[in-house]
Symmetry: none
Subunit: 230 residues, 4 copies
DNA sequence: AATGAATGAGTCTTCATTCAT
DNA sequence: GATGAATGAAGACTCATTCAT
């Protein structure tokens, strides 16, 4: 059904078809609710062939996760070119992220939702990728903080203008985590809200985040009220 | 096993035991992987009784979602008391959120992960709650924008200082979405990182978000570079 | 089919029915060729019930082996009453053995054939039983050897007549092994040859074995020709 | 893997390789548990080739049985040379038997265990071979009985010494059956017990059997006690 | 109010077997 | 002479769900 039932194709091609079908099915139904029968039919293949090539439901799912994770990180990394200023890098990275997730909703569902809900093994697989991205963002934030790059400016900012407040390690990690979380959430929102483009989602997030980061680095920070009983 | 097998308890009590067991099981295993057998055993009841009271797996899951959603929104709303300044309201809301999710990891897992991965019906249930919270946050943002509340200040800010730039409807929604997403992400991070308290998570998020919102309302916004080909 | 489909029976009864059906099916088809479907149907039960009570094909098979092994050893031991002379004991044991195997061909098939051909685990289960019987026979032989019981006589033999040649340990074990093997083989033969009763099979084996043992103990033994090069 | 993958070999050779692989696999795993995949891989051939040469799993198994049965009977017959005395013939036959089974454990497993547990068709195949051997032994016993060969003597015995009690047909058959069964059992025992050679196994059995036969032929026979009610 | 007994339907997985080249 | 590609059929096992008591 999923594709014209052409027989006798080289293994590599068939394997790709199967992964495509699997990503779609897992992404829409979830790991447990997806049946191997359904995947096989969608791939235009008999079930035994799926097993011959991919061994088990577990391995098939893992293969999906790996493929989609690689595709996503590749896309993001392709955006973040080291030559640019920190804000520009972040902007491009976000844009790549929103574009990719918008174009691969099933893959994104696998990474963002499905893999996290079905056993530590799968979750760990995604965790690795997420950590990589969080680290990348953390680095960008740290660079911005060091350069003191007035992040409100569009340009990279003349380095050395302000010394930049060295953000504590964990603080930066927390910020990166928040930013990535915000991005993940916006991705879903953008996909679900008609008329919101990847560009717009990225802009919203940049506005939200970069200004806050700027203030932070310049020492203007929000501090909580006295802990309950003064 | 789950509890001492006391016979003949009033229905309300039994029902609570079942929901407790169900939340725990669904939260940890996921909807599909959780078995009615396991839930019944954990509740210390026979399976037919679970069906007698809650009719089906679907309804049981829905009941869990509703209960946990109500508990979470109640907790958050209890924090956000209308009398305070917008920033203080946001701060208290976030603190309540992080505290509640830290204390109810299984319930949070159901709302954040499980319900979203198993069919539109369940997702819609959570969506309703989420929208409520996003609306609440959107309102806070709008208020701050109108009041022009320099959100950097700890206090509500003297209203009327600046007129406040009316944020476009969708922009506000996007920001709220981002903020909620960031909060969700930080909740997981705080739960998983030893030594990060609900207070700290809330502070991090306030720092991240409030300044950005402030800049935004004062017209200082980040704008994207020329769309590739001018 | 196997029995009138009466519903709602106490667990113990149903379990017996299942074991009966399993012994019959495993005994006739072999472990691998027997299907759980077939067993369930023969037992007049649905497959899930078989799994509920007996957990898995492996455990079901093991349960069959244990039950049949116990039944066989019980039968043999009931025959071999310690009060009698060694030859009489052997005779009664053999008769019990041939009688039991003739009446329980499926059980005997499981012990003698099926269990030995499907994995060490099952084989070990039977091995234990077989060792027990071989030990019992070995003991009888040793007693006869000590008493010097002229085994040709019908009576227990006046003990002390001849001192009896202490057979070497391994020699006795080999003899016992041979005797048990001969018995096993004769059991099949008796079952397959119409008109051969358990009594006759036992008599044939006693004639075959007892005299040889007697000669052996009295020192008259057959010795092999010169090893190859005369 | 099973052998260096040399291409384009004459059919006879390939067929032998396949049978070798099949005997090994069937012997160790049993008919049902052995997979054609495994056999093909072990033979270093693709599966279709196995089918091209041997048609089906059934036929392949049958071919194994036939080959191994022929090898075993050939070996035994080569030992039993008609010129010798009956006891010597038996001795040589047994020695050949134990030697061959020790050297071809997989083939022996097929004949002794596997073929008997998987359907009448296969069992019949082995049965034929077994009958041949039992007949051979029966003949030896009959000859010994006629010659009155005091079977305790090492030599053929002077014919005509005692007239020899004509053993009833069935009696002889039963004895032969017992002897063959004992041999089969001892073969397994010898294979499993380190330090027991084919020679020793044969000696043990000769001691066990020949003396008994001797007594029998000289009229000294064991007779059962009165049938229950004296 | 509560449960032991029971099952229909479906899922993952494997295997003997065949084409097309 | 030989194989990579492919499948129909079947089997072990599980689960949500219901009776009869």
């Amino acid at each position: 059904m999923g594709s014209v039932k052409t027989k006798r194709m080289p293994r590599a091609v068939r394997e790709r078809q199967m992964l495509d079908a699997a990503v779609q099915t897992f992404g829409q139904r979830g790991y447990a609710a997806a049946s191997m029968d359904e995947i096989a039919e969608l791939a235009g293949v008999s079930k035994p062939l799926v097993y011959l090539y991919l061994n088990s439901k577990d391995e098939l799912f893992t293969a999906c996760i790996r493929r989609e994770a690689a595709a996503l990180t590749d896309a993001v990394r392709a955006g973040v070119r080291p030559g640019l200023g920190a804000d520009r890098q972040l902007w491009e990275g976000l844009r790549a992220f929103f574009t990719h997730t918008a174009q691969n909703p099933d893959g994104w569902s696998i990474l963002h939702l499905q893999a996290r809900t079905h056993g530590e093994t799968f979750a760990a697989e995604v965790s690795a990728m997420r950590k990589e991205i969080v680290a990348l963002v953390t680095r960008l934030i740290a660079v911005a903080a060091r350069d003191g790059g007035s992040p409100c400016s569009n340009e990279g900012g003349e380095p050395g203008d302000h010394p930049g407040s060295d953000l504590p390690e964990r603080e930066a990690a927390g910020l990166a985590e928040a930013l990535v979380g915000a991005a993940e959430s916006l991705a879903a929102w953008a996909n679900a809200t008609p008329g919101v483009s990847a560009r717009q989602a990225a802009t919203t997030l940049m506005n939200f985040a970069w200004a806050g980061l700027g203030d932070l680095m310049e020492g203007r920070s929000w501090s909580p009220p006295e802990p309950d009983r003064p």
